[in-house]
Amino acid sequence: MSRASEGDSVPTGEEQGEYLFVWGDTVRGRRLLVGVLVGVVCGLIGLYGGGWIVDAIGVADHLVDVWALILGIVGCVVAGVITARLFSPARVISGDAHASGSIAAAIDELGEGSRGLGTLEDASALSRGELDAAGLTDEFRAAEAAAAQRGRTGGDL
């Protein structure tokens, strides 16, 4: 395995992308490092600093340990709050997905598989009412008709 040719031409962050996909979501590298450090520091302050304070104010010996753990966990929550205040999420929020293209594709996907799409007559009154209220009845009817047509021309499974 040779990567020697890449040694002097490592792509820059802008070329590769400034985001990293870590543990299921995107982050920014330096901010992740800061967040990790904040988490560790706040946790340690809560655990050891809090434990020292609790001991100093004279809490019973057998409870000092537990309070140190509680304050350590509080420190972790504080770390989360601090990091959230420091850095905004690396996410793009998009709005409405109520586009005819995605609805038709979703209905087609429901029709895949051995059970197929079925007909609205097979559904309960509540389900039919929900589709009515959402304005989706006509789309389901159209998909049923298309499936029936495919069944007549393409043959059954």
Binding site: V27, V34, R91, A97, I103, A105, S124, E130
Partner: protein
């Protein structure tokens, strides 16, 4: 009965606290159950809350979490926790149809129905199994071994999972022996390491330059946030009036679900209560497939599967906690070995080691009737807090999390948690163990497709089965 009444006030208080805390935690995506419920349950035990209060806290926490985990799952497409993962694909289809809020209402209603069915079912199954409790305790080392192998085989890894379990058990034995040489005994560090393993793997992976370039993205994550649709939108004036009278914040779950969905939820709740040794994720997937195979119409199939699956997330957790506690007093299920572990082992309050003849856990202090009553109380507290919260504030909560809580903040909090709990339990040795177990366990989860439940059982094989079996053979 007198003791039960005496413990009732503290149980109510702890149930409400558990419900409130975990209603809020459940809305934050990625908050694994073991990593959140186990440490806080441990704290509750160690501060001296009576067993009734501890148990009610745990049940309210677990049930609330599996209600509000549906919020980010349905509205954002991000799993609220581990058990929300099997519902992601179905949630995506409902979002594509423009109906994520309906999916959320169905899921939460299914959770409520399932929780109240699963509790008496689990107690009944436990009662049926309890005559075999002593026999099972005597053969506990072998039973853990067989259960671990069975759970590994039932995971996506199949035979590979069973094979991978062997070196993992050896690894745990090695760590135990090493920390034991310093007279340090650890337990929660192992559980936390397993639970947070994937995060630890990713954080180490990102330090490797080649891996870092592969993890780079040119754009941030795209998150779809469904528009806020309240119950009653799109209906005629009379229906809106009736609904306003009934209250928008607490719709009757039996009116949100049709008869097929109620029946499916009830049936899957009973069945999944009996399959208490299997992975909750696997059982959730299985119940969804069973329900989906029986419904003809596509939309009704989709909504029924979502309802039944989320109901199963409740019933599996309830059964996998109650049955091992009532019938055996041993952590003989993935949930008992994972998020409920402090109920069995929380030194110096609780200890479970049948090999050394020590079984002093929460089951030693509560009767079957206590478990039944306090589990119901936990369900009532969870329903009273989480259900109206999710129905009324789901959109606001999801908006807040996705716009204000960065992923860096979530990682910061969890890294802190790992450091705090491991240092608290075992100092630097605890920190080394949690990092090592997290790295190895996380890689097994990522590459061998094991799940955390298998690894939890692997831990118990190392701690209970191996010494017991070696002793039986004169080793």
């Amino acid at each position: 009965m007198e003791m039960l009444l005496q413990d009732l006030p503290i149980a109510v208080l702890m149930g409400l606290i558990g419900a409130i805390v975990f209603t809020l935690i459940g809305v934050v995506s990625g908050t694994d159950e073991t990593a959140t419920i186990a440490p806080l349950t441990l704290v509750v035990i160690l501060i001296g809350v009576p067993p009734a209060g501890v148990f009610t806290f745990f049940m309210a926490a677990a049930i609330s979490k599996h209600m509000t985990h549906a919020v980010p799952t349905m509205l954002l497409g991000i799993p609220g926790d581990t058990l929300a993962v099997p519902i992601l694909e179905d949630a995506a289809k409902m979002r594509a149809l423009g109906l994520p809020h309906l999916a959320l209402r169905k899921a939460i209603s299914g959770a409520v129905v399932s929780a109240f069915i699963a509790i008496p079912c689990a107690v009944l199954f436990a009662w049926i199994l309890s005559p075999f409790g002593d026999l099972i305790t005597a053969f506990a080392p072998w039973i853990f071994l067989i259960a671990a192998a069975g759970i590994a085989y039932s995971s996506r890894a199949k035979l590979g999972g069973v094979v991978a379990l062997v070196p993992f058990v050896a690894f745990i034995l090695g760590l135990q022996a090493w920390t034991g040489s310093f007279e340090v005994s650890l337990s929660i560090s192992y559980f936390l390491g397993i639970a947070i393993g994937p995060m630890i793997v990713d954080l180490v992976t990102v330090l490797v330059p080649q891996n870092r370039s592969e993890m780079r993205r040119s754009k941030p994550s795209q998150v779809f946030l469904a528009p806020d649709v309240r119950p009653g939108d799109g209906e005629d004036a009379d229906a809106v009036g009736r609904r306003k009278h009934a209250g928008r914040t607490f719709p009757n779950p039996f009116r949100v679900l049709d008869r097929t969905q109620v029946t499916a939820t009830a049936a899957t709740s009973v069945v999944s209560s009996a399959t208490f040794v299997f992975s909750p994720v696997a059982v959730t997937v299985l119940m969804g497939e069973i329900v989906g195979a029986r419904i003809k119409q596509g939309y009704q199939r989709l909504t029924s599967v979502i309802t039944a699956k989320n109901g199963t997330t409740e019933s599996t957790y309830i059964a996998e906690t109650l049955i091992p506690l009532i019938a055996f007093g041993l952590p003989l299920s993935p949930v008992a070995a994972g998020p409920a572990a402090p109920l069995f082992n929380a030194p110096p309050v609780f200890e479970t080691n049948p090999d050394e003849g020590v079984v002093n856990n929460i089951a030693t202090h509560l009767t079957t009737l206590d478990f039944f009553i306090f589990a119901l109380l936990g369900a009532v507290c969870a329903t009273a807090i989480a259900y109206p919260f999710a129905m009324r504030y789901a959109h606001s909560a999801a908006t807040f999390v996705v716009t204000k809580v960065s992923h860096e903040a979530i990682i910061a909090a969890f890294v802190g948690l790992v450091v705090v709990v491991s240092l608290w339990e075992g100092g630097l040795l605890g920190l080394l163990v949690v990092t090592a177990v997290g790295l190895v366990g996380g890689m097994l989860i990522r590459t061998v497709k094991l799940h955390a439940g298998v690894l939890f059982m692997g831990y118990y094989v190392a701690v209970l089965s191996v010494p017991g079996i070696l002793a039986a053979f004169g080793g």
